[in-house]
Subunit: 565 residues, 2 copies
């Protein structure tokens, strides 16, 4: 019988700052792995602190507590050999690091070499780079540890570890989700495997943290670049896989003892109970986005201790999607909706909102805003005398609705979920303190065209969103006969221009989008620039695209740059 090594990838949902809670969660996965005879178990990057801890990392008390947590945790772990992400410290600074725990002691530490400092990442703000290569001997095999970005470059540290005899690399990650990201990860890992002929066990966090969602989808790739096993997407999971030792043993070229840590010597081989592998599944693209939003919403509400949510329903597609997501993420008992009609609200809007609430089985409260609006207009009558109606009166309606939702939030402890999509956020087609008022902007990174796609996907699972909500023309209903298309290009064109300008940092022109007039493209870009001040005051929301607003795209408000349009 061939000797095998049994590895485990623990894909856990940790919470930023919850050191003892995260440690308990690690310990419970260690117990499960031990029951299953796992030899080596890997947790994600910074599992102890949660990711990203941001400026908590500047607090000495936080760093000290995290180290104490790892040391206390070590006392609870006999076996398997367990790889745990935490923050290490020396007199020179702090490190994004991984401890290897075995038989109640920390046996060795690896420190991340490459620190990402782009997109949503600020690791050079906090960490210094680890310098020494290091591998670990466990029984008959030698393994290495790489932390996230370490795997993204040719050469060291992975090539070095392979040269030092490592046949297996545990690559521990906190890799945030965006659409199709899993394929980037597989491609990168496959490149390293081609160069170094190693197995890679890639483990990722799962769960929501403010604007980020970690999708899990941990996997093991063999040294031919094939996926040998894969974890679930968007939920916690323990992946277990047996690998024949003979596939992991490599000749080392001049390994220096200084750079090898012995975890355990060779031992008598004990056959293990067989384990069943997960099927390797990749979610459908629309489902993937939907699940990301659901998890991000669930965790933001749950980790911040809210009991319920409240959503303004307009009868339109955006609020319909947010209400549906809230029900799917939190249960219908945790969702209250409010319909707030004005004289511009159509009969269809009311019917559609009520039908949706009925389909979802959620409470809908009716609060007309006309009388309150009259109160404002009376107070402002003298000041506004002789000036014609404009955006002011439209925004007042949106802001009254915002105030009502916030009053319900204050009175009942519900978090207000806002309903703006990325297309609107991009061009500023939203009212600050109005429909932008709330605690979490669930779909703020979802372009309108993808809103339609994931609503269609959701309705295929069970039809909850009334068909008319999907087919009717979008309108803000803030003045007579208003349509989005009065002020915006068609969404399919708009979203393409926005993708080019916002996500790809290009300067789209009529050559790129011949279907749109040149002045229309220029107007869209100008709207994006001029709305920066609004976005700065937006609630957080879930990143699902390669470049979201927020930490991912840091534009000055005061900015006179005019692209050559």
């Amino acid at each position: 019988m061939k000797r095998t090594v049994r590895i485990g990838l623990a894909q856990v949902n940790s919470t930023v700052g919850d050191l003892s809670g995260n440690s308990d969660r690690v310990a419970s996965f260690v117990d499960r792995a031990k029951e299953n005879d796992v030899d080596i178990l890997a947790f994600p990057e910074l599992v102890i602190t949660g990711y990203p801890p941001e400026d908590l990392l500047l607090k000495k008390g936080f760093i000290d507590s995290n180290i104490k947590t790892v040391n206390d945790l070590a006392l609870r772990i006999d076996r398997p050999a367990t790889i745990v992400g935490f923050v290490d410290a020396s007199r020179r600074g702090i490190y994004n690091a991984a401890a290897v725990i075995y038989k109640r002691r920390v046996r060795g530490i690896y420190r991340k070499k490459f620190l990402p400092n782009y997109g949503v990442f600020d690791e050079k703000r906090y960490f210094i780079s680890g310098e020494k290569p290091r591998v670990f001997r466990f029984g008959n095999i030698v393994f290495g540890i790489a932390i996230c970005e370490d795997t993204w470059f040719k050469g060291p540290p992975i090539a070095t570890m392979a040269r030092m005899g490592a046949g297996l690399i545990f690559n521990i990650n906190a890799s945030p989700y965006h659409m199709g990201k899993i394929y980037d990860r597989e491609r990168i890992v496959r490149s390293r495997i081609r160069e170094s002929r190693v197995w890679v066990a890639y483990t990722n966090l799962v769960g929501g943290q403010d604007e980020l969602v970690f999708d899990g989808q941990s996997f093991v790739m063999d040294r031919s670049g094939n996926i040998a096993a894969s974890s679930k997407a968007f939920e916690e999971d323990l992946l277990i896989l047996d690998i024949a030792e003979e596939n992991l043993v490599k000749g080392s070229s001049g390994i220096e003892d200084a750079y090898i840590t012995n975890i355990a010597g060779p031992s008598k081989y004990q056959p293990k109970k067989p384990v069943e592998a997960n099927p390797i599944i990749r979610p459908d693209p629309d489902e993937e986005v939907y699940q990301a939003l659901k998890l991000g919403l669930h965790d933001y509400v749950g980790k911040n201790g809210f009991k319920g949510t409240v959503i303004g329903l307009s009868g339109g597609i955006d609020s319909a999607l947010v209400a549906t997501l809230a029900v799917d993420a939190l249960g219908k008992e945790n969702v209250t909706t409010v319909f707030m009609p004005s004289k511009y609200t159509s009969r269809e809007s009311r019917e559609d909102a009520y039908e949706l609430a009925g389909n979802l089985g959620i409470r809908i409260i009716d609060i007309p805003i006309e009388d309150i609006l009259d109160g404002y207009l009376k107070s402002l009558k003298d000041l506004f005398a002789g000036i014609k109606e404009d955006i002011t009166e439209e925004n007042l309606q949106a802001r009254i609705r915002g105030n009502i939702l916030m009053a319900l939030s204050n009175k009942f402890g519900w978090i207000v979920l806002t309903t703006g999509n990325k297309s609107e956020m991009s061009v500023g087609y939203a009212t600050l303190y109005g429909d932008m008022a709330g605690g979490f902007a669930v779909i703020k990174d979802v372009p309108k065209t993808i809103v339609y796609e994931i609503c269609a996907w959701r309705n295929k699972q069970s039809p909850v969103i009334p068909e008319r909500i999907i087919t009717k023309e979008p309108t803000a209903e803030l003045k007579p006969d208003q349509k989005d298309s009065d002020s915006l290009p068609p969404y399919d064109h708009l979203d393409q221009v926005l993708k080019s300008y916002v996500e790809e940092d290009k300067e789209p022109t009529v050559r790129d989008f011949p279907a749109l007039p040149a002045e229309e493209i220029a107007r869209v870009l100008r709207m994006v620039d001029l709305s920066e001040y609004k976005r700065r005051q937006s609630p957080p929301g879930i990143k699902i695209t390669p470049k979201a607003f927020g930490k991912d795209r840091r534009m000055p408000i005061t900015n006179k740059f005019k692209p050559s349009r």
Copy 2:
């Protein structure tokens, strides 16, 4: 007669992204310097792009335009030799750089070595480090260029340049203001001078950019560490100084030709018209803060193209200070105030608000909110039946006021200035979408105790803030007989605890602040943590402390870390 070299430091106010405007401004200072026979003229760091350009730096179109701008600018400059900060590019990446222009050509380029990536700085997100040391020969002297952070460390690049024969270093900066920062800069520069025995000509930007104010205060320090000349604070300035050549000539130890750029050979010495030196002035600390706020406000409003401002006056000290600042920064014709009484508003508040407006000579509009509040309460009556009044009703009042101000903003194009101070922002003693609603939060980084100090300073110049506003007890007037002290510790204690926790990242306990009960300190820290979500939606405001909220302090909202209190 001794030969002298005449240097100029051009302390200009550039605007982020305004490449052609900034270039014109540089050209006009070059003309002034030429008229004054300046030999070498230095502009601040990234003067061409403005600082910080943030993610504009990710746009290829922006980088290309900035390089074209420098090349076009060079054609306009004959003399003096002119040092201009811009973004250089190579196939490897982009650099924070300085071009030396002389006789209509770019003669050489220095690339910044040390890239700050802490506090408000994100330079490693964008730039790569320059690697080669480089000095420049001009006539009989050799000078070096250092860019901002390059000066903050012992050793290279300054020590290298000195060894290569540079007797004078032009240190070009975009160094944001905080209280007393000038003394940090002098101390750092003096350390480099002690090590390398050079003169340092330190030039800094001036002006406001979103949350940052650059205070200017450029200076020249001789090789004994004495200030030889100094520019004005908080305004544009051209500093001119003659230095005897013999004081700048150093023996070089093995300078390699590859690392020296010849700008101009020795020439016949022409005596120059004498110039008058600025007096060396350091502003009084209270004046310094006041001027920083004034400039930051002036530039935010001006650079973003607003015509006027609108401020809600409560009769309290915070709104009094903001109104006074607005008048001083923008002129009384650009300030409108609004008094929005409720049934909790005292006679004193009304008197004080009107007296202030009278003293400042500004318009005050009276819009009672009671009727509008009744409208909301009527609409919510059934839902709130049997539940006692709480923060909900208080917030509604603040939000009605926010809506009224925003309606005036929308109708008349005025920017709403919010009036919250740093103490309130820290503990969340402010209403989101209420008194936090607006375009610019002028005093959001000013602790309440400093609000009092700078009001006292301002009244000493001319008494505009009614004495009672300064002496009466602070109150939000959102419920009967409310006082800030009902929910907050006395401000002098509170501000000390906040400084320790927020600015110094410590975990203050009763040992540090024996005047406060332990549970009171713990409650304050908890309030700071729990208000993160509010601050995330706050408008930008001016940094005046070593650590402001915003880019300077990046805390997660979802955060379960509990310091050992």
